[in-house]
């Protein structure tokens, strides 16, 4: 089911100093047009098989009131470099994801003492992770050359699995849960998304997604739309001129903006999405997915006002400050 999105005019692809803004505008335009809510039978089968795989995993964790799900796979060296019109010279191989993820798990377990952390990953990543009574590692068959696409599949798979028995927050490997968030789930939403209100950046960010467990059908419908919109975006020829492989990079961001009905301008509030049977709340990144701060603001007071700190891009080097907070 396709629909025309929020942007009314055809995108204008032209070179000017506002290239980044234009790129995002075009991305949103294509994303909105690609919105789709249902998967083909083949993809439904694939997800079914993956869900069974996840259900078969041995999980015997302490009971908790919150699930934290982190997806990460090792990206092969030959595809680790990302060069797109909006990302110049990012090399995943230069980032120590193992240290990041370990710290992320540690912080989640500490800041939310009744949380359980699920690391969804490949067969090699973090092979020497210290066991914890509230930590489960699920090693999945994944195509690590397409990490962004695999992540969306993993989220849908999780939402359909028996693991999804508590309110859940999905985190990027560099998004850190600083304070207890269980109370957030007392509110009447099914999916919580975060909006980054900066021109030139994709508005809804996929690095943090909250999912309540009251209306599981609605949550699953949301993630199904997320994946099916992703697949629909692959067929957008105009988009393929900008991004050569959206399964590797950018497709997740575009797809979540498609499902969120994303617009560049911040829109808070709770929306009942009848076609999904889900209530989606849009929350500000300033509280739930903060990245625009200075390093010296990363201190013990930050958790008073911010639930999740996202060390995007070069901010990953600030983990030493986070380390100090954990050790304090």
């Amino acid at each position: 089911m396709a629909r025309i999105g929020a942007l009314m005019t055809a995108p204008r692809i032209e070179k000017n100093p506002q290239d980044a803004i234009r790129l995002v505008q075009n991305g949103i335009f294509y994303a909105n047009r690609a919105y789709s809510t249902s998967l083909s039978p083949e993809w439904t089968d694939t997800i079914f098989r993956k869900t069974n795989q996840l259900n078969d995993g041995n999980v015997n964790l302490e009971p908790g009131n919150l699930n934290v799900v982190i997806f990460h796979v090792n990206i092969p060296n030959d595809v680790s470099q990302v060069t797109t019109p909006d990302i110049k010279n990012l090399d995943h191989a230069s980032i120590d994801y193992e240290t990041l993820v370990k710290l992320n798990i540690e912080i989640s377990l500490k800041s939310n003492p009744r949380s359980r952390v699920f690391l969804l990953t490949d067969n090699e990543f973090c092979s020497h992770l210290k066991p914890h009574a509230r930590l489960a590692i699920h090693r999945m068959r994944v195509n690590s050359r397409e990490p962004m696409f695999e992540r969306v599949m993993a989220m849908l798979t999780y939402s359909r699995s028996r693991l999804f028995d508590q309110p859940t927050v999905f985190l990027d490997s560099d998004a850190f849960l600083l304070r207890p968030v269980h109370n957030l789930f007392a509110n009447a939403f099914d999916i919580g998304l975060t909006h980054r209100n900066i021109l030139g950046q994709m508005p809804v960010n996929e690095g943090v997604i909250f999912s309540n467990n009251i209306n599981i059908t609605g949550v699953r419908a949301f993630f199904e739309a997320y994946l099916s919109s992703y697949l629909a975006l692959e067929n957008c020829q105009d988009l393929s001129k900008i991004y050569t492989n959206i399964r590797r990079w950018r497709g997740g961001q575009l797809a979540i903006n498609s499902v969120a009905n994303g617009g560049q301008v911040y829109r808070s509030g709770l929306t009942n999405r009848h076609e999904l049977g889900a209530r989606i709340v849009v929350l500000p990144c300033a509280k739930y997915n903060l990245s625009q701060i200075d390093e010296n603001e990363v201190d013990s007071r930050l958790a008073n006002r911010v639930a999740i700190l996202h060390l995007k891009g070069p901010r990953k080097s600030w983990i030493n400050r986070l380390r100090l907070l954990v050790d304090a």
């Binding site: 009314m8 109370n183 900066i198 829109r267 808070s268 009942n272 509280k287 625009q292 008073n304 639930a307």
Partner: protein, 582 residues
């Protein structure tokens, strides 16, 4: 042709909104019809007549309000896009702005108060849009015969229907709690209000889709609270207010200023006088034998700033009759007790000017309500993990009309849509929250547009007066977003930034005053309580017969006591419903 007649009827019925001219437009395929009542303010010539179409006949617009930065936008459209404008109106800039930039980008750039409809003849797409704060109203109805919209509820309802529609029970329950019906609901089932900061897209043979383009939320931006000093913020506030004033003083017809005894309107008038050096007219009303009447303070203010002041002193003996007449003429029930004085003030100002500037929005942006302090402890996360529960506490203890629990009791249960609306309002209070700061965004989203701005628009337009609000500009929103707690409250002192600005303008007598509502005089509300009870009893009889409820006066008083807010809200709704019969 049925649609055309319906629109003509609506235009006739809302003549007061624009007595200077009226116009109609139909698309060549007769799928779209626009009508317009014109209150000519900018480019009063026929060059600003509406509905307006662009030179290529691609787009048509009918539009109510003002685009304050139209000159700047026009310059860009001329320079970068080679648009040749035919006249000097802001309407034409609105039209080409949407055509050239698209609705999203245009709305990002626009500073104004507006409700507009645009139709693209090429695609058959219609777009309805409402300004950021909700200064101008926009109602719509999707019916089996077509999609209708208009600036006022009752004319729209008359135009499309064959009698008053049913009352919406969710809207009714919200009215009892809030004294107004918040968007997207209206008191009528089947007719909705476009929410502030939203636009609606209607394509042929598809259900309308609503999009938000603005939310006033301090957390929308990741830029932290300001690190500027209090003095610097006072200075910046002055600068931004003056800039906003400059835009809002553009008018080709006479313009004046409301001047109450409060901080906000005093600042607006004083800054206009100080920075633009023009002679200004100020207007106020007062009531006889009321020692707290606003006109005492405003007279002193006028003397200091040097305005030509026009105070009208009214007796209270006619207020009963006047209020009844006004309620009958209200477009949608609004139980705010300041509707009657606001109406009288607008009528008074309209005798000399067509545009007036006021101080609305200052309380929400700068933290002016006495009900805000202590909310951190009262509705904080520790006490109410669920934001909706915190909001219900706020409605029960800080804005008591009829409490949600009592409404639930009176109606057996709250309709599901009532809860949905309240849950949406509660989002800014989600954990982690600082309720004393974040509650302003709840009030901005609900009370400001639903009660305050609706009152100002309806009471002024009843008198064919346009009211503009310098506090409600995008730059003021940005500034207020970043104010830390200490700049919003200093002990029991509210709005310290604006009070300090008053001091610097020589208005210390205003700066030191507590906030007072601009309501009916106490002699009317308190001494006449017996009369209010009688009117409320009558009103409840009408409400019960119309809605099939069984809320008699005994039940109401048992539920809320002799609560003046509840009694007045009941009177307004009952007498408003009664007026439908006539």
């Amino acid at each position: 042709m049925e649609a055309k007649y319906a629109i003509e009827k609506v235009i006739d019925l809302q003549h007061h909104r624009g007595p200077d001219a009226r116009g109609f437009w139909a698309s060549t395929d007769h799928r779209a019809f626009f009508g317009h009542n014109r209150l000519a303010i900018i480019d009063v010539s026929s060059g600003g007549a509406q509905p307006m179409v662009d030179t290529e006949n691609d787009w048509a617009i009918t539009y109510n309000g003002e685009l304050y930065n139209y000159k700047a936008l026009r310059s860009i459209l001329e320079a970068k896009h080679s648009i040749k404008f035919r006249g000097n109106s802001d309407t034409e800039v609105f039209l080409y702005g949407v055509k050239v930039w698209g609705i999203d980008e245009f709305l990002r750039l626009a500073d104004g108060m507006f409700a507009a409809a645009l139709y693209c003849t090429k695609t058959g797409r219609c777009i309805l849009v409402r300004d950021r704060a909700g200064e101008k109203p926009l109602y719509y109805a999707e019916t089996s015969k077509g999609f209708y919209f208009g600036s006022e509820l009752r004319p729209l309802s008359s135009g499309i229907g064959h009698g008053p529609p049913d009352i919406d029970l969710a809207a009714f329950s919200l009215y009892l709690m809030l004294r107004y019906v918040p968007a997207p609901l209206t008191i009528y089932k089947g007719i909705r209000k476009l929410r502030p900061g939203h636009f609606l897209v209607i394509d042929q043979d598809q259900p309308a889709r609503e999009y938000a383009y603005f939310s006033w939320d301090p957390n929308a931006s990741e830029i932290p609270e300001t690190s500027k000093t209090f003095d610097q913020i006072v200075h910046i506030t002055e600068k931004l207010l003056v800039s906003s004033l400059e835009h809002r003083m553009t008018s080709d017809v006479p313009l004046g200023f409301f001047l109450s005894g409060g901080v906000d309107s005093s600042l607006v008038a004083a800054l206009a006088r100080k920075h633009f050096g023009v002679s200004i007219n100020t207007y106020t009303i007062g009531f006889e034998n009321d020692p707290n009447s606003e006109h005492f303070v405003s007279q002193q203010t006028a003397k200091i700033i040097g305005s030509k002041h026009n105070a009208k002193i009214l007796g209270i003996k006619d207020l009963g009759r006047l209020s009844r007449e006004l309620i009958h003429r209200m477009d949608e029930p609004n139980g705010d007790r300041s509707c009657v004085p606001t109406y009288l003030l607008c009528k008074h100002a309209r005798s000399e000017v067509t545009v007036a500037l006021g101080g609305d929005g200052g309380d929400e942006l700068f933290g002016g309500y006495q009900r805000y302090p202590e909310l951190n402890t009262k509705i904080g996360e520790d006490r109410y993990p669920r934001a909706l529960d915190g909001l219900l506490w706020y409605l029960t203890h800080r804005l008591p009309v009829v409490t949600p629990a009592k409404v639930s009791g009176l109606l057996s249960a709250l309709p599901a849509e009532t809860i949905e609306v309240l849950e949406d309002f509660a989002v800014p209070l989600y954990s982690p929250s600082r309720p004393e700061i974040d509650i302003r965004y709840v009030d901005f989203k609900s009370y400001l547009s639903g009660a305050v701005l609706a009152k100002v628009d309806r009471m002024s337009m009843q008198n064919s007066l346009e009211v503009r609000t310098p506090f409600l500009s995008p730059s003021m929103f940005d500034l207020a977003n970043r104010l830390p707690h200490g700049f919003l409250y200093r002990g029991q002192l509210m709005k310290p930034v604006l009070r300090e600005l008053c001091n610097r303008l020589g208005l210390a007598h205003v700066a030191k005053l507590d906030k007072r509502g601009f309501g009916m005089p106490p002699q009317f509300m308190e001494l006449g309580k017996e009369e209010l009870v009688r009117r409320a009893s009558e009103a409840l009889r009408v409400i019960d017969s119309k809605l099939g409820t069984q809320i008699d006066l005994g039940k109401l008083i048992y539920a809320v006591g002799l609560n003046a807010n509840a009694l007045w809200a009941t009177i307004v709704l009952g007498e408003w419903l009664e007026s439908e019969r006539s």
